[in-house]
C-alpha cells in the first residue's frame, strides 16, 4: 500500500467524511487526528483480473489483511511544523510485505527509526540479521509542516498473525 498525503484545500467536505469519533485532545488543539481501519478484500472480475477493495471489517481471521489509516487536519490559523505521527503496531498483526519501502519503521519499540531495509535485528546468540516485516513494532511519518486548512491521510497495511 502506498503512503500518500493528499493536500486538500477544502477542509469542510473532508471533515464530514472523517469518522465521527471523540478525539482525545483539548479544544485548543488546532490539529485533529482520527484513526480508522479497513479490511482488504480481493475481488475477482469475470475476466479473471483481480482488484482490491477496502471495506469495513466484517470477519477477520489470521492471514487477513487490514489497512490502518490515520487522518490529520490543521484546523488552526497558524502552520504547524515538525508533525510526527507514530503508530505502534498491535502485537496481533505484522506489517504487510507490500508496505511502502520508504516508510520509517522501528524494530526496537520506537527507540530507533529507519527504512526497513536499513534495520537489523540481534539474534539471541549475538549475531545480527536483516530486519523483516514481522519485526516491525512501530511505523511513523514526519511532515515538515502542515499549512492552515491542510489535511491528509496516512496508512499502513498489516496482516493478522
Amino acid at each position: 500500500m502506498k503512503i500518500s498525503f493528499r493536500h486538500v484545500a477544502i477542509r469542510l467536505a473532508l471533515l464530514l467524511a472523517l469518522p465521527a469519533v471523540v478525539h482525545a485532545q483539548t479544544p485548543s488543539d488546532p490539529v485533529s487526528l482520527a484513526g480508522d481501519v479497513k479490511a482488504v478484500k480481493i475481488v475477482t472480475a469475470e475476466d479473471g483480473t483481480q482488484r482490491t477493495e477496502l471495506i469495513e471489517p466484517t470477519v477477520i481471521v489470521p492471514g487477513d489483511q487490514l489497512v490502518f489509516g490515520t487522518s490529520y487536519a490543521n484546523n488552526g490559523a497558524d502552520p504547524v511544523t515538525n508533525f510526527i505521527v507514530t503508530n505502534p503496531l498491535p502485537s496481533a498483526v505484522r506489517l504487510a510485505p507490500d508496505a511502502d519501502p520508504l516508510l520509517s519503521v522501528s524494530v526496537d519499540g520506537g527507540k530507533t527509526w529507519d527504512v526497513l531495509a536499513a534495520l537489523a535485528v540481534t539474534n539471541p546468540d549475538g549475531t545480527t540479521r536483516a530486519a523483516t516485516h514481522e519485526d516491525v513494532t512501530h511505523v511513523r511519518w514526519v511532515l515538515a509542516s502542515i499549512a492552515p486548512g491542510e489535511q491528509g491521510r496516512l496508512t499502513y497495511p498489516a496482516i493478522i498473525r
Binding site: 469518522p19 469519533v21 471523540v22 478525539h23 482525545a24 485532545q25 488543539d29 488546532p30 490539529v31 485533529s32 487526528l33 482520527a34 484513526g35 480508522d36 481501519v37 479490511a39 482488504v40 478484500k41 480481493i42 471489517p57 466484517t58 470477519v59 477477520i60 481471521v61 489470521p62 492471514g63 487477513d64 489483511q65 487490514l66 490502518f68 490515520t70 490529520y72 488552526g76 497558524d78 502552520p79 504547524v80 511544523t81 515538525n82 508533525f83 510526527i84 505521527v85 507514530t86 503508530n87 505502534p88 503496531l89 498491535p90 496481533a92 498483526v93 505484522r94 504487510a96 510485505p97 507490500d98 514481522e134 502542515i146 496482516i159 493478522i160 498473525r161
Partner: protein, 322 residues
C-alpha cells in the same frame, strides 16, 4: 517356520495452511494463528510544533476483534495395513484442530468403503486418553453416540482409535478399509462460510480451506492361519541299521507348521503310541528340550496308555516337536 509378511509402508500427511478470502498470502507457517477473540487495538499519536510550543495529540482507538477460523485434519498413524488379531484390529488416527479457536469434532467411522474384499464391523471409537499411542482397553474411553471429541484448543492434536471386528471365512491376505471422518461441531461448508457469533467469545466463525471436514482411510489385512502336522519316523535297529525288528527304536517327529500370516491360540498336539511299540519313558522333547512324562508345569505329558500331548499355546511362537 512361518514368518510374518512384511507390508509396504504407507504414510500420508494432509496438512493445510489456512488461506482466507481477501488476504495476502500469509507468510507465517503457524497452523493456528492469533487466537480467536483477540482484540486488536490501534491508536496513533502525533507531536508537532505550533506557535513556539510542542504539543502532543492522540487519535481515537480503532478496535478489531479476531474471529475464529475453523479447520481440521486427520492423519493415519499406522505405517501400513493393520494385521487383524483373532478377528479384531485397531486403527489409529491423529486429529488436529488446525483453526485458531477451541472446537469440538464429530467423528464417524464408515466400514462400507468401495472395493473392500470384506466388510468389517466398527465396534467403537476410542480416545487415547493417556496419549501413549496404544489402545488400552478399559482405560481409553469408547465414545458413545454421537461420537464427539471434547473441545480441543487451537493447534491441539488427539489420537483416535477405530476398533473393528472382522467376519469369519476370510482368506489370508484379504484387505478391508474403513474411513474415519471428522467434522467441526460449529459447522462445515464451503471455505468462507460464516457462522455469525458462533465462534469462541461470541466472535464470528468462518470455515477455512479444509471446509472444517477431514476424512482418512485405515486398512486392515486378514491373517488366516491353517495348521498342519507332518509326522515322520526314523528307525535304529539293534544292529546299527534301519530295519524294523523287535528292539528297534523308532523316533517319531511331529512337525507343526502354520500357513498364512495369522496365528492360532491354544494349540495342543497329541498323538497315540503306535500299536506294536512301547513309549520309551523320558524321551518326549520339544525342539531339542526334554519334557517330563508327568503332568506338571512343563508343556508335555506322555505315557504308553494316553499317548503324548504337548501344549504349544500361541502358534507361531512355539517351536517344533522333535
Amino acid at each position: 517356520m512361518i514368518t510374518q509378511s512384511n507390508f509396504a509402508s504407507r504414510f500420508t500427511i494432509s496438512l493445510l495452511t489456512p488461506l482466507v478470502l481477501g488476504a495476502a498470502l500469509p507468510a507465517a507457517a503457524q497452523a493456528a494463528g492469533v487466537t480467536a477473540g483477540t482484540l486488536i487495538e490501534n491508536t496513533a499519536q502525533a507531536t508537532y510544533d505550533e506557535s513556539g510550543a510542542t504539543r502532543t495529540i492522540t487519535s481515537n482507538t480503532v478496535r478489531v476483534r479476531v474471529d475464529e477460523l475453523i479447520d481440521v485434519t486427520l492423519t493415519s498413524l499406522d505405517s501400513g495395513p493393520q494385521q487383524a488379531t483373532a478377528s479384531e484390529a485397531v486403527l489409529a488416527f491423529e486429529l488436529t484442530n488446525q483453526g485458531n479457536g477451541p472446537e469440538a469434532f464429530l467423528l464417524t467411522a464408515n466400514p462400507a468403503v468401495a472395493g473392500n474384499a470384506f466388510e468389517m464391523t466398527v465396534r467403537g471409537l476410542a480416545v487415547d486418553s493417556n496419549a501413549n499411542g496404544i489402545y488400552d482397553p478399559g482405560i481409553d474411553p469408547i465414545l458413545s453416540a454421537p461420537e464427539t471429541t471434547a473441545v480441543m484448543a487451537a493447534g491441539d492434536k488427539l489420537t483416535v482409535f477405530v476398533l473393528v471386528t472382522l467376519p469369519s471365512g476370510l482368506s489370508d491376505g484379504q484387505q478391508s478399509a474403513v474411513d474415519l471422518s471428522a467434522r467441526a461441531v460449529t459447522g462445515t461448508g464451503a471455505p468462507g462460510t460464516v457462522f455469525t457469533g458462533a465462534g469462541s467469545d461470541g466472535v464470528n466463525a468462518i470455515i477455512g480451506m479444509t471446509e472444517a471436514f477431514a476424512k482418512e482411510t485405515g486398512r486392515v489385512v486378514a491373517g488366516v492361519a491353517a495348521v498342519s502336522l507332518v509326522k515322520s519316523v526314523s528307525l535304529r535297529d539293534p544292529f546299527g541299521g534301519t530295519g524294523a525288528v523287535p528292539g528297534t527304536v523308532a523316533t517319531f517327529t511331529i512337525t507343526a507348521s502354520v500357513a498364512g500370516s495369522g496365528s492360532v491360540a491354544g494349540l495342543v498336539v497329541t498323538d497315540t503310541i503306535p500299536q506294536g511299540t512301547t513309549y520309551a519313558p523320558g524321551t518326549l522333547g520339544l525342539d531339542g528340550t526334554g519334557l517330563t512324562d508327568a503332568t506338571d508345569g512343563d508343556a508335555g505329558t506322555a505315557s504308553d496308555a494316553s499317548g503324548i500331548s504337548v501344549t504349544l499355546g500361541r502358534f507361531p511362537q512355539g517351536p517344533r516337536i522333535p
